[in-house]
């Protein structure tokens, strides 16, 4: 399949779509006009597809500077009567939360969907928060798809629902839905309105106390009305396998695991799949509870529905057992899979479940921890900085490395060990401010270009104003790298693929009054060391911007131009000091069985930084 087909394939056709791609198609079938995001795994591919097709689709798309801004862009579009779609990873909703909570109060005019891609088991995230709880905190209707087809169909449903009740709708996916591929039957793409018109009404759109007290009342009224919908929605369905001993209430990915375990073992159970799951359909669930002997709740990742079920049982004084996370039938943390569900169900069903023999090995398996790519400019930055620190005889224990969210956080790995603290987007600087105040240790904060625009500017202002002593290294690789290479405000292209003004990190740093501000190309190690030397000795806020394109960009450019430079080791000159392997740690280097050092030509990116690293000048261009 070609990406364009997500837009161009006709009604009635089928595509093998990723959950994230299905979200794009669903938005298009729902007549979306405005789409905004800040990239974050597992939601990123939605943006990557819109980046490629938005112009042709007649949709406005942007990579906003952060999730809060993205949400506000979409909220405004919806207030102006357009259909809008904002998506982010689960922790992105924390950044957007301030506006998100109140946008549910003000409501919308055009349909608006907020998609939160949660990451149970934290494949690529800093926490495991379950944003179904955010839905309850905000009071926003919630949709939980179980596969790409449902993702697509729920987009259109969500827009209609949102417009009918004039409230944004939250769709919660998880990694296993966002990154699941499945067969999707397509509907018709509808062209959204190009321009909206904002009809003023401060009583709806100004959240001063006088207005919000009314909005709060209105919100509860809406939620009660929407609960009638969830009670009767065909999206919430019962699958009766012909028994009443166990009734399983489930949603999202957990539903898939339950279904596979139930069919494989031919279990006689009754299943209630909740797809339109908040406001929680109390009567529907009560009827279901009454129709079975005992209940199992299978959900990821918090016992959210389980507690709702327990509340219903308590409220109606029902004497039935509720199995789930709280009694230990199923694990309290991490994502599920069919084996976990099977293990849990084996404890409560009166039947031997299929158990397979499986193999294991006693051989040691190599560790494949994520590493900075060959040719990654961050490695040069870390190498130069580390060397300067050594030259200045600064003690490692006396330095706190406060790092941030992005590929460069991998600097925490040996041999660099330059990552002592990391919390969230932009935290490197705020944390740095705190350490600068309360210790005499030297603080070095690392932040990427995209993360700097996202949440790095307010703490930089804070550092300057509060006279902190911090070296801030802005690792500007001209891209939002970790999520797969999206544009950001520092590059000359916008989310539509159109030319756009580059926002200068250097000018921002100067503008807020940082004492020493320098931009360097880190692959020039000598220059980098000189600048780092000054910056490390500076008493105040110093900012060094290490500007060099991500290896993904340079590799693509070289491929396009047909340039292929590879480096090799002159074995006669090499003294096997292993600085290239052990100190520089480019993954293209390896030690042969005979102890000699070599470069894997498949991995070598041709950046040539290793040439500067080698004290014997033994690395040369391969002819």
């Amino acid at each position: 399949m070609k990406v364009k087909e997500i837009l161009t394939e006709k009604e009635g056709e089928k595509l093998f779509l990723l959950g994230n791609e299905a979200a794009v198609r669903g938005a298009l079938e729902g007549g979306v006009s405005v789409v905004s995001t800040y990239p974050g795994t597992p939601s990123s591919e939605i943006g990557n597809v819109f980046y490629k097709i938005a112009r042709e689709a007649g949709v406005y798309f942007e990579f906003s500077s952060n999730e809060k801004v993205a949400l506000e862009v979409s909220v405004a579009a919806a207030a102006a009567g357009l259909r809008s779609f904002v998506f982010m990873k689960h922790v992105g909703l924390n950044v957007a939360a301030d506006s998100f909570m109140s946008a549910v109060y003000t409501g919308v005019r055009g349909g608006m969907i907020v998609l939160s891609a949660d990451d149970p088991s934290m494949h690529s995230s800093q926490n495991e928060q379950d944003n179904r709880i955010m839905a309850r905190l905000a009071g926003i209707p919630l949709l939980e798809p179980s596969n790409p087809q449902e993702v697509k169909d729920l987009m259109k449903f969500g827009f209609d629902l949102s417009e009918q009740f004039k409230i944004p709708v939250l769709m919660r996916t998880t990694t296993r839905i966002s990154h699941m591929r499945g067969v999707v039957n397509l509907g018709t793409v509808i062209q959204g309105k190009e321009k909206g018109y904002f009809k003023k009404d401060p009583s709806q759109f100004i959240v001063t106390p006088a207005y919000v007290v009314k909005m709060r009342k209105e919100l509860i009224k809406k939620l009660n009305q929407i609960e009638e919908k969830t009670e009767n929605s065909p999206l919430n369905k019962i699958i009766d396998k012909g028994g009443r001993e166990i009734g399983i209430i489930t949603s999202g990915s957990a539903f898939n695991y339950v279904m596979d375990v139930v069919s494989e073992n031919n279990l006689k159970v009754k299943i209630l799949k909740l797809t339109f799951s908040y406001p929680f359909p109390e009567k529907l669930v009560l009827d279901f509870i009454n129709s079975v002997d005992n209940i199992l709740v299978a959900e990821e990742v918090e016992p959210v529905m389980e507690k709702e079920v327990l509340a219903i049982i308590g409220k109606y004084n029902i004497k039935k057992k509720v199995y789930g996370k709280l009694d230990g039938t199923l694990p309290r943390i991490y994502e599920y899979n069919p084996d976990i569900i099977s293990f849990g169900m084996a404890k409560i069903v009166d039947k031997e479940l299929i158990k397979r023999e499986k193999f294991s090995t006693k051989l040691p398996l190599p560790l494949r921890s994520p590493v900075l790519c060959p040719g990654c400019p961050h490695r040069a930055t870390y190498f130069a900085l580390k060397k300067t620190i050594k030259k200045l005889k600064l003690k490692e224990e006396e330095i706190i490395y406060s790092t941030d969210i992005g590929c460069y956080a991998l600097g925490l790995e040996p041999p660099y060990n330059m990552g002592d603290y990391c919390l969230s987007m932009g935290s490197s600087l705020g944390i740095g401010c705190g350490f600068s105040k309360v210790t005499n240790q030297k603080v070095i904060s690392f932040i990427g270009d995209s993360t700097f625009f996202h949440a790095g500017i307010p703490p930089l202002i804070n550092a300057v104003h509060n006279k902190d002593k911090i070296l801030l290294v802005v690792m500007d690789n001209r891209i939002t790298g970790m999520t797969g290479g999206q544009t950001n405000p520092g590059v000359p292209v916008d989310g539509m693929g159109n030319p756009a003004p580059e926002v200068s990190i250097e000018k921002i740093a100067r503008g807020v009054g940082a004492g020493l501000v320098k931009t360097i190309d880190p692959v020039n190690l000598k220059e980098a060391e000189e600048i780092f030397k000054d910056a490390l000795q500076f008493k105040g806020v110093s900012v060094v911007i290490t500007k060099h394109p991500c290896a993904m960009i340079t590799d693509a450019e070289n491929r396009k131009k047909g340039i292929s430079i590879k480096y090799t080791i002159n074995q006669e000159e090499c003294t096997k000091c292993l600085i290239c392997v052990k100190n520089f740690t480019c993954p293209a280097f390896f030690i042969e069985k005979d102890g000699s050092v070599n470069i894997n030509l498949l991995l070598c990116d041709g950046c040539g930084v290793c040439v500067q690293v080698c004290p014997k000048k033994a690395i040369e261009v391969k002819k």
Partner: protein, 209 residues
């Protein structure tokens, strides 16, 4: 090797066919899996697939799982994979928990030694002991040098298509070869399709089961 005409029957006997792919970031495992999935869809079968993105991709192990047939979840139960395609020998061992003694296994013989081994913080087992262990456990095993074959076909990057060809050649593979080839044409860049098709064909012929 099964005859093309058998494939539909095999599928209906076994109502879900489970394929596990494992490799290292950059080897093209996701592309190979997607091609299989689309081919299955063309055959009119239901198919679900799980892939890895993001942090897990940076030089790490990449796992994709496919269930062809009436399955809801793409995640394969332990010991339940009908076919394992291992793009790297040590990774074949890592996926042992997913297969059983009846499973078919295609394993690439070319190791990718991670950097952690050079740094001395992890160990890569002797290749011969990997192969010995695979041979001892798996009866339907084919170990092929996909890199060598890809080189012969014209490009080392076609390694994934060599392994895909080998997988399609295993008995019981539920999708017709022609549909896989059609799906390759729709998923791979036109300028490299000839090399890829050659690699696929050579991989297909390399398997004797």
């Amino acid at each position: 090797m099964s005859k093309e005409s058998d494939r539909g029957e095999k599928m209906s006997m076994k109502n879900i066919y489970k394929i596990q792919l494992i490799g290292v970031g950059g080897q093209g495992t996701i592309k190979a899996s997607t091609i299989v999935g689309e081919a299955a869809m063309k055959k009119g079968l239901n198919v679900v697939m799980s892939e890895v993105h993001g942090m897990a991709q940076r030089g790490g192990t990449v796992v994709t799982e496919l269930k062809i047939g009436e399955a809801h979840s793409p995640l394969i139960e332990e010991g339940a994979a009908d076919l394992l395609i291992a793009f790297e020998p040590a990774e074949a061992l890592r996926a042992l928990n997913k297969i059983n003694k009846e499973s078919f296994v295609i394993a690439n013989s070319v190791p990718i030694v991670p950097f952690t081994v050079s740094l001395g913080i992890s160990e890569y087992p002797e290749l011969s002991s990997i192969f010995d262990e695979l041979k001892a456990k798996i009866k339907n095993l084919s170990i092929i040098n996909a890199q060598e074959i890809a080189k012969e076909a014209g490009s080392i990057i076609s390694e994934n298509m060599v392994l895909l060809g080998a997988a399609v050649a295993t008995p019981e593979f539920p999708v017709d070869k022609d549909l896989v080839i059609q799906s390759m044409k729709e998923n791979l860049p036109p300028k490299s399709i000839e090399t890829n098709l050659k690699a696929f064909k050579m991989g297909f012929e390399a398997v004797k089961m």
